[in-house]
């Protein structure tokens, strides 16, 4: 594939993987918004995996696992993505350099903790962050990075980037880099949109295990309800705070994902000529607001502005589960 001369333009996005993938697709000639990248790859979801621990707390995700967007866009856009991982840091670094020398833009999975440009309070050991490398400064050797969650492009010294790419632990990136081998082409929206939505509906409503989708939310609600409401509340509060962090923080975004998916539905409504989706977008915005209310109620309890009340938080979660159940049911009918 012939590469585009270096005219990369950085764009601010709300989530790392959807931001990187929409930037790659745009760079290779097809205008694609971040919400479109999220929706077309059917990446909105919910998962509660109590047996995977991050800092002693269960993995809670409001979207599909890392790489779902990279893989999921291949079929609808007819774009072949190549992904490579490495055993040795030196080989991973050499490969990245040679791809950049060819003029490619390259997606990278990294740890957040080892990226020095992240503000100190946000540096946790979260290994599934995505950034896009679009060049190197020939004088200093620094990488030019487009990190979608920042407003401006960033720079990173080679040693730091190597460390972030080869961080170990849960979701270790193993130096993962990815780039397109073919150019994207505009899909038949009338087919691609319903197919992508159908997949999301299936995951949310009919996942085979009760930890995924709506049933996962109900499961979390039960876990919250069981938290002790008196005595040493430190651990209980860390658990509910964690639910909100997974929902709101950079790189994830729960309420955020609902708003972004609403934006996808709105855009998809006109592309696929299905006006019913516009109305559903409005409903999903309200569901996003519900997640923000849950976050606010939780934060107030953590700071003791309100008494710690797990039953109330569980009720809010059940309400969200019920609303999303109705919503995805309507979405299912709207694309029949």
């Amino acid at each position: 594939m012939q590469d585009t001369p270096n005219t990369f333009s950085h764009q601010h996005a709300s989530h790392c993987e959807s931001g990187v993938m929409s930037a790659i697709v745009r760079h290779y000639g097809l205008p694609l918004s971040e919400p479109m990248a999220l929706g077309l790859s059917s990446a909105v979801s919910f998962a509660y995996l109590p047996f995977i621990k991050l800092g002693g707390l269960p993995l809670v995700a409001y979207r599909m696992p890392p790489r779902a967007i990279i893989r999921g866009l291949q079929k609808p856009l007819g774009i072949r993505m190549r992904t490579e991982t490495f055993r040795s840091t030196a080989r991973g670094e050499a490969r990245l350099n040679s791809l950049l020398d060819e003029g490619k833009v390259v997606g990278l999975q990294t740890s957040v903790f080892w990226l020095p440009y992240f503000p100190g309070d946000m540096r946790f050991h979260f290994n599934a962050h995505n950034v896009l490398a679009y060049g190197r400064d020939s004088a200093s050797g620094e990488y030019l990075l487009s990190d979608p969650v920042f407003e401006e492009p960033m720079r990173c010294a080679p040693a730091d980037l190597a460390r972030a790419r080869f961080a170990r632990g849960v979701l270790a990136p193993k130096g993962l880099l990815y780039y397109p081998e073919t150019r994207p082409s505009e899909p038949d929206w009338g087919k691609a949109v319903p197919a992508a939505i159908r997949k999301t509906v299936r995951i949310m409503l009919r996942a085979p295990i009760p930890l995924i989708g709506i049933r996962g939310m109900e499961r979390v609600a039960r876990a919250v309800e069981r938290l002790p409401a008196s005595g040493d509340l430190q651990k209980s509060k860390l658990f509910v705070g964690h639910l909100v962090r997974m929902q709101e923080e950079i790189g994830t975004g729960g309420g955020g994902f609902r708003y972004m998916y609403a934006s996808f539905l709105e855009e998809a409504a006109s592309l696929a000529a299905r006006p019913a989706l516009t109305e559903l977008a409005g409903e999903l915005v309200e569901i996003g607001d519900g997640w923000r209310e849950f976050a606010l109620a939780t934060a107030r309890m953590i700071r003791d502005r309100d008494p710690f009340d797990p039953a109330r938080l569980a009720a809010l979660l059940r309400q969200q589960a019920a609303r999303e159940k109705t919503f995805f049911g309507s979405l299912d009918r709207a694309i029949q």
Binding site: G55, W114, D121, Q234, E249, Y259, S263, A281, V285
Partner: protein
Amino acid sequence: MDANEVPQEGNATLGGHRKAMYARGADGRIGIVPSSGWEAEEIVTLQAVEDLDRLAADARKRARAGSTSPLEYHMYKARMDLTLLSQISGIWAWRVRRHLRPDIFARLRPALLARYAEALGISVDQLKRVD
């Protein structure tokens, strides 16, 4: 959420950066609105940071009193726990737990110290000290 409801309360943990939020604009369409932060989010982020800081401060005190090894302090300071340090260093958790004992830590081979130092991103000298 409407664009004018996107929180602009400032969030110290963002370090002056702004986040992209999707909200409904005046034209009725949903698009990106930069947000300078939300207090609720600041609270939950600081909660996690403060918890780790508290563990590090507590370990520091005990390390100075000689009841734990400096390794425990440096582990929390690098925002890790025992599981994570074990995964990152490739040293079994039961061994890491043993190395938190000051007498055992003091006898560690340089090669093992170097592995811990590498995992924590500090020098062996720093690892042996509690600043």
